[in-house]
């Protein structure tokens, strides 16, 4: 037990000395900040009222202009009527309106919608166009309800909810939890291949630590910093007003996955013993590992559900599965190490 802790603390100290952990944290902080950039952009797309600036104005023309104006009014999108499609498009080009809706009654109402191409605002504008047209569809269905066997369900009024909430819990938090895990496996592999390539492994083996202790000490070090980083992120998010529920369960999941990943990194490093091949095989293998994990019992979704506060038995079952699988991998690795050694 002692030698493993000694080796683990030596590994962690060297990380601190080389300031590489600082770099790792800087990268993660940057990615988090950059995600906020994306999120603000997304919010602006879908909920224009959160962004100061001109809203979307529509230009309508054609047979169903009257109904379109009513529909826009109902969903609070300003609209202007134009005598013809050509006039509306000219206004569009001049920037007076952001989209054009030209209508023709021919059985159903056929709408030609024009939106700006390749603009940051395109998504926002298209979302508004969709809202107006959905409202139009609703009123038209009511008009024609005689012809329907089943009436559509009324869609309840929405409140102003930002997609930020959804994005934070389904994408941002899982990403922040799993990024340290990826990095841990990579530096586990590096720490072993470096010992081989620099020849310091012989020195290490000359110590009282057994071969198995050496590898386990490294795994302990790099597995634990992944969990520590994840815990730090949870704390940081709390400080920023984003509640992360069930942190203990999430950290157990992160721990299980980091065990699996450092075992993988270590196994690869011990097989190939040089950095280039190890890194290449590690990158591919970890992708496969996460792909399989996602296909089997989506860990991203599990983290999302735990963090958002809607866990269920199946999530806990998946968690148990991960812990069991990682424990099995660890035990198998220990047995193999005990038998073969790392010479």
């Amino acid at each position: 037990m002692d030698s493993r802790l000694v080796i683990a603390s030596r590994e962690l100290r060297s990380l601190g000395q080389e300031k590489t952990i600082v770099l790792a944290i800087a990268i993660q902080v940057f990615i988090a900040a950059f995600s906020s950039f994306l999120v603000v952009g997304l919010v602006a797309m879908y909920d224009p009222s959160t962004v100061a600036g001109p809203g979307t104005t529509l230009g309508v023309a054609g047979d169903a202009s009257e109904e379109l104006l009513e529909a826009s009014d109902a969903v609070d999108v300003p609209a202007r009527r134009y005598p013809s499609y050509r006039d509306a498009v000219d206004a569009f080009r001049r920037g007076e309106v952001d989209a054009v809706l030209d209508t023709e009654r021919d059985g159903p109402v056929r709408v030609t919608a024009v939106a700006p191409d390749a603009s940051l605002r395109t998504t926002r504008i298209v979302v508004q166009v969709r809202r107006v047209l959905q409202e139009l569809e609703r009123t038209e269905r009511v008009e024609r309800s005689g012809g329907l066997a089943n009436d559509p369900l009324p869609v309840p009024e929405g409140t102003r909810s930002s997609p930020f909430f959804d994005f934070t819990y389904t994408i941002l938090i899982p990403l922040l939890m799993f990024l340290p895990v990826f990095i841990s496996g990579s530096i586990m592999s590096d720490s072993l291949t470096e010992e081989y390539e620099r020849g310091t492994l012989d020195l290490l083996r000359a110590t009282p630590a057994s071969d198995r202790n050496i590898v386990e000490g490294k795994m302990l070090a790099y597995g634990s910093i992944a969990v520590v980083q994840a815990a730090a992120w949870i704390a940081l998010l709390h400080l920023n007003g984003i509640a992360v529920h069930r942190p203990a369960a999430i950290l157990v999941l992160v721990a299980a996955l980091s065990v699996a990943v450092v075992v993988l990194g270590g196994a690869i490093a011990l097989t190939y013993r040089d950095r280039r091949r190890s890194q290449l095989v590690y990158s591919l293998s970890v992708m496969l590992l996460f792909g399989v994990a996602t296909a089997a019992a989506n860990p991203f979704n599990a983290v999302a559900r735990l963090a958002i506060g809607t866990p269920s038995t199946e999530v806990y079952l998946a968690l148990a599965g991960y812990v069991a699988a990682s424990a099995a991998a660890l035990l198998a690795a220990r047995r193999l190490l005990g038998r073969r050694g790392i010479g």
Binding site: F92, G95, R130, T159, G291, N301
Partner: protein, 584 residues
């Protein structure tokens, strides 16, 4: 440079130097790749990110029951009246819907609306009377419009930008030309690449309003990732190879050979450059691009490789190298992505080569000026990095564990052959300054403007002062020229002047469009928009003064340098603040 030697070294690198791919490894890699295919296919067919996120209580006779049970977004909870108040459910669904007044409750309501909508769509699709079930059909078209002229308050009345930059075509459904531009007869659908189909933004024929998929706004992010991630694998091997030369003095053999440093570096780099360009070509072909896309990605490959080259030279351990490589990948992806997002404003978007790829996918012709504009900073940066790296590809720096700053200064020293070199280096650093500031904008964009702006201005001051003074510090502290105060001031002035000239060159070539809408971006480049009278004098004075201060500090060693640098940063920050408050 003897190209035969270069090619020979390249051949060695490619065959035995690169990766020792014995049979065992090849089989392992092949097995993993083969296993990845079905996994990727399975995941691509739909992995739900939001299953089971919210809890809903549904009363027995609620009309919404079939809708809720058809989706997996909601987990069913107790349906009694008090469950909502107790917090056991986020939504209570009876004849109507009631949500908890928390963020989660509101998000749950939004999700519920989506579920009901898709349920309605399925319900209506089973109706026999189609025109009653789907009374509205939409054909969504995308039309280009250039708003620069409108925003700038001038320009042609028909709304085309001055000179119709880039030859963008406007299309209209009836195929007529408008106002003197060329119009393509298609309605804009034909010239979209394969990628667009997957990302929305394309309507084939008539569809219902529900089926409108707004274009994924961050198509450039996908493109940036699509190119950078595969390149990353190749570049990892390259960085390892460079680093390997330093372990156990393995690189000594090549160094003592007749091959020059430049030839060695060129030879070792060539196979990886070929591989990354090849990867880019394969990806470009896969997404429907052409030679222009490959040409646009060439400087990106070069930049990636040059950064990795320097990383491999300076890293002190494998762990450090790993992190630096990750940082480089993230940085490059950001550099590619952020400008391309501002697609409305051509000068800003054109900074990123991804915009060129986007135009290529659309089938638009790109004038040579645009290409040069997008790629020149990257070419220059790569060149500078290779030059700096090659200068330290020698025994004293390869095989020692000198501290990083020592090696960095060695590299800079290698480039200084006279006083004017100081000015030259300041100019050459401009692409790096620029890129770093761009990253700063991206990182701080989301924060409340009140304090994001001062933080950004401070960041800009720090970055610019650092890049203006590092080479001066190297020259002064290592006494490359004589040790007098006058020399230090001269060097500082030269550095500041060089930086100023570089800035103006970029302004002239239009990097900073005068219609930059983004507030923060405007603030960063505000110093270039000062009234004409001050346009030349004030920034020049600023740069010269601040660079001189840090140069004077450098004479007194590292602590003096730190003090001088700090003072310079403060002055620069104060200047930025006053300019921004003047310009508004």
């Amino acid at each position: 440079m003897d190209w035969r030697r270069v090619l020979r070294i390249a051949r060695w690198e490619a065959t035995s130097g690169a990766v020792d791919l014995d049979r065992k490894t090849v089989v392992a890699i092949a097995a993993i790749v083969v296993a990845l295919i079905p996994v990727t296919a399975f995941l691509a067919s739909g992995v739900s990110t939001d299953s089971g996120l919210y809890r809903a209580g549904v009363s027995q006779d609620s009309p919404y029951t079939p809708a809720i049970t058809s989706s997996d977004v909601f987990v069913l909870g107790p349906a009694d009246g008090e469950a909502l108040r107790r917090g056991e459910v986020d939504l209570m669904v009876t004849d109507t819907v009631e949500a908890r007044s928390t963020d989660k409750g509101r998000a749950a309501l939004q999700a519920f609306r989506d579920v009901v909508r898709s349920y309605n769509a399925r319900l209506m699709s089973r109706e026999s009377n189609e025109s009653a079930a789907f009374p509205v059909r939409v054909n969504l078209l995308y039309m280009e419009r250039d708003l620069r002229a409108v925003v700038g308050g001038g320009g042609a009345a028909d709304g085309t930008g001055p000179g119709g930059d880039g030859g963008e075509n406007a299309t209209s459904p009836d195929g007529e030309g408008e106002g003197g531009e060329n119009a393509t007869p298609s309605d804009g659908e034909g010239d979209r690449g394969a990628l667009d189909g997957a990302l929305g933004g394309e309507q084939t024929g008539l569809d219902t309003p529900d089926a409108i998929r707004p274009p994924f706004p961050f198509r450039s992010l996908i493109l940036a990732f699509a190119f950078v991630v595969p390149m990353n694998f190749v570049v990892q091997v390259y960085a390892s190879s460079i680093m390997d030369e330093r372990i156990g003095r393995k690189g000594e053999m090549l160094l003592v050979s007749p091959a020059s440093r430049g030839e060695i570096v060129a030879g070792k780099t060539l196979p990886y450059l070929a591989a990354t360009v090849g990867t880019a070509a394969v990806i470009a072909a896969a997404i429907g691009g052409g030679p222009l896309s490959v040409a646009a990605m060439l400087p990106v490959a070069l930049a990636f490789i040059s950064f990795s080259f320097v990383a491999g030279l300076l890293a002190r351990s494998f762990k450090e190298l790993t992190f630096v490589m990750v940082a480089v990948s993230v940085f490059l992806t950001t550099y590619l992505f952020v400008p391309a997002v501002f697609a409305d404003i051509h000068p800003v978007a054109a900074i990123s080569p991804v915009t060129l790829v986007v135009q290529d996918l659309r089938g638009a012709a790109v004038p040579l000026g645009d290409y040069v504009f997008s790629t020149l900073p990257l070419y220059l940066a790569s060149g500078v990095l290779f030059a700096l790296g090659t200068a330290v590809y020698r025994e004293e720096d390869l095989f020692t564990q000198k501290p990083l700053h020592g090696k960095a200064m060695d590299a800079l020293q290698g480039q200084m052959h006279g006083r004017l070199s100081v000015a030259k280096l300041s100019v050459l650093f401009i692409p790096f300054v620029f890129a770093t500031e761009l990253l700063g904008i991206a990182a701080l964009f989301a924060l409340p403007r009140a304090w994001a702006l001062p933080v950004l201005l401070a960041f800009v001051a720090v970055v610019e002062e650092l890049f203006k003074s590092v080479h001066v510090y190297t020259a002064v502290s290592r006494r490359l020229f004589d040790d007098s105060r006058r020399t230090a001031l001269t060097l500082g002035a030269l550095s500041g002047a060089g930086f100023f000239v570089g800035e103006k060159l970029t302004l002239i070539s239009g990097i900073v469009g005068l219609n930059v809408r983004v507030d923060l971006g405007r603030a960063v480049f505000a110093s270039l928009e000062t009234p004409l009278a001050l346009l030349l004098v004030a920034p020049l004075a600023l740069h010269v003064v601040t660079a001189s201060i840090s140069a004077l500090g450098a004479r007194r060693g590292p602590r003096g340098y730190a003090l001088g640098l700090f003072a310079a940063i403060l002055i620069h920050f104060a200047y930025n603040l006053s300019v921004v408050s003047l310009v508004g």
